[in-house]
């Protein structure tokens, strides 16, 4: 009997939760704020869904009810991607500067 692909996705999901559990426990407490901002940035990979929605069915019009939500979601996710990664970068740079000072 064939296994439903859903089961495979569920397996990936469950295993990723375990990976996440162990990886996050190994994050040093002093970097918990960057951890939150970077998880925020990567969860915006939801933009792939937004792009699919925006580019679907554009044979007649670019903006239809469905693609409009796609475009809105692209904008929101993009704010998050750029904002999240850059603010994380900015914070992590501060952890570096001090090291140089010390030496």
């Amino acid at each position: 009997m064939e296994i439903d692909p859903f089961i495979f996705r569920l397996s990936i999901f469950i295993l990723s939760i375990f990976v996440g559990y162990y990886v996050v426990w190994s994050v040093t407490p002093s970097l918990h704020t960057p951890l939150m901002s970077v998880t925020n940035a990567i969860s915006s990979v939801i933009i792939v869904g937004a792009i699919i929605a925006a580019l679907a069915d554009t044979s007649q019009t670019i903006f239809n009810s469905s693609s409009l939500f796609g475009f809105l979601a692209i904008t929101l996710a993009a704010v998050n991607i750029f904002g999240g990664f850059l603010v994380t970068h900015r914070m992590l740079q501060m952890y570096k500067k001090k090291k140089k000072d010390k030496k």
């Binding site: 970097l31 939801i46 937004a50 679907a56 850059l86």
Partner: protein, 467 residues
């Protein structure tokens, strides 16, 4: 146009890069590389999506324009935001992820065929359930984060909003979402879909308003977790591996942070969710105050004298330091002390600040080397050997009552053993109790010197007196 198998493979790669991005955060040295891997993972995911759709019409130009508009706003915010405002920023970003999840779910519902989910009015059952979960959790994340943002920003009062029947109402709304999703699967009616989203928005608001300001670190972590589960729900709908992996990572990350924060405050997760902390306990200790010994009042000169003659000083910063923007003056003071061979270290309580790790970032911004900054369990034994504890803008996290009085609302909370120091300097504006609303008996000890002033001004004065 590339095949679905090839793109699935690349999505897996971006998922792996996201795992490595988090892994990099295990030490400050590898963290920047990790962040870079995260950016690469995101870039791969976006490019692969373009290639797999293979639609290079004018619509693509619009996609890029919207991408750049959003990206420009994001970059602008990222460079301008002061570090003290990080909690609000993260809460705001969570709300955007939540809303984006809602929008993607709506787009998929309105045009299921472009996502291979069936046709309007006959969407595959599993997909319908998955997109409802994604939309509902996304909506809760959105409205909950907005409330958290308003509370952190001070636009909305941090005190809990409680009314009778609140939990019953939440339970009722939660159940009605389940029932509506069930009917949505049977009828495929778009009205039910909209209702589910609307109720979820309401649930998000109701869930966060009863939670008090002191519990905000938990709330932010919790919403972080929710945004992950919302992304995972959408990931299942879109059958996208990158999104499923990321959702699981973010979901568990937020859950772990919530757990750490709850433990640091000795509060159970459910009591935080049910809310009301910070409002009820204000009156309990106010009568005791009268029979207390008077406090010893000092000035910057005394403080400078004490520290100059110490051989080791431990600094205990709290959110009050951040509010007063005293971290740079503090660093200056520490430099002066180090010059005369005094050992200085920083002790950070897990809930110092408004979000996990917030105080570390603020100190990092003031160029404090991260190897001088210690977590509670690493430094607590050192207080007994230190000469001076310099408490600046912290209060509840030093209160010995958490160890001695089982009746105290913070009993059992891990605290910094500041009282074991030979002398304690307390920079504080007044004797008013902290967030938990309890008096700190440390104020009245013989070896405590209270420095009543604005944290920044006092630190600057001490710097002058150290010369």
């Amino acid at each position: 146009m590339i095949s679905a198998n090839v793109s699935a493979f690349f999505y897996l790669i971006s998922g792996m890069l996201f795992i490595l991005a988090l892994r990099g955060l295990s030490s400050p040295d590898t963290s920047r590389q990790g962040n870079l891997l995260g950016m690469i993972g995101m870039t791969i995911a976006i490019i692969i999506t373009f290639l797999s759709i293979g639609n290079f019409s004018t619509a693509l130009i619009y996609v890029l324009i919207f991408l750049l508009i959003g990206g420009g706003i994001g970059a602008f915010i990222a460079f301008r935001i002061p570090m003290t405002a990080m909690p609000e920023l993260v809460a705001g970003f969570h709300s955007l992820v939540g809303l984006a999840a809602v929008f993607v779910a709506i787009a998929a519902f309105l045009n299921p065929s472009s996502f291979n989910l069936g046709v309007v009015g006959n969407i595959k059952l599993a997909s319908l359930i998955e997109m409802s979960i994604g939309a509902s959790v996304g909506a809760i994340t959105f409205s909950g984060s907005i409330i958290a943002f308003l509370k952190l920003r001070g636009i909305m009062s941090g005190s809990p909003i409680i009314f009778s029947g609140q939990h019953l109402l939440n339970l009722f709304l939660g159940l009605s979402v389940f029932i509506l999703v069930f009917y949505l699967c049977k009828t495929q009616s778009s009205n039910i879909f909209w209702t589910v989203i609307l109720i979820s928005f309401l649930v998000g608001v109701l869930l966060i308003i009863p939670i008090g300001g002191a519990d905000m670190p938990v709330v932010i972590s919790m919403l972080n977790s929710y945004s992950g589960w919302a992304a995972a729900g959408i990931g299942f709908t879109l059958e996208n591996t990158a999104l499923i992996i990321t959702g699981a990572l973010v979901g568990s990350s937020g859950a772990i942070l919530s757990y750490i924060m709850c433990k640091a405050m000795n509060r159970s997760f459910f009591s935080v969710i049910l809310g009301g902390f910070g409002a009820d306990s204000t009156s309990t200790k106010s009568d005791d105050k009268k029979d207390r010994k008077p406090v010893k009042n000092g000035n910057a000169e005394d403080a400078a004298f004490l520290m100059k003659n110490a051989s080791s000083v431990i600094i205990v910063p709290g959110y009050g330091m951040a509010v007063a923007q005293a971290q740079h003056a503090l660093r200056e003071m520490v430099d002066k002390l180090k010059k005369i061979d005094i050992k200085v270290s920083y002790a950070i309580h897990p809930v110092a600040g408004r979000m996990p790790g917030h105080m570390n970032v603020l100190l990092a911004e003031a160029n404090v080397p991260y190897d001088e900054v210690f977590e509670l369990e690493d430094i607590n034994n050192d207080f007994a050997n230190a000469d001076v504890a310099f408490v600046i803008g912290a209060n509840d996290v030093t209160n010995p009552v958490a160890k001695t009085d089982p009746k105290s609302p913070i009993f059992g909370m891990p605290v910094l053993d500041v009282e074991k120091c030979k002398s304690v300097l307390f920079v504080k504006r007044s004797l008013s109790p902290g967030y938990a609303g309890i008096d700190n008996e440390l104020f009245y000890k013989d070896n405590t010197l209270m420095l009543f002033a604005d944290a920044k001004k006092m630190t600057e004065d001490i710097v002058k007196n150290l010369e």
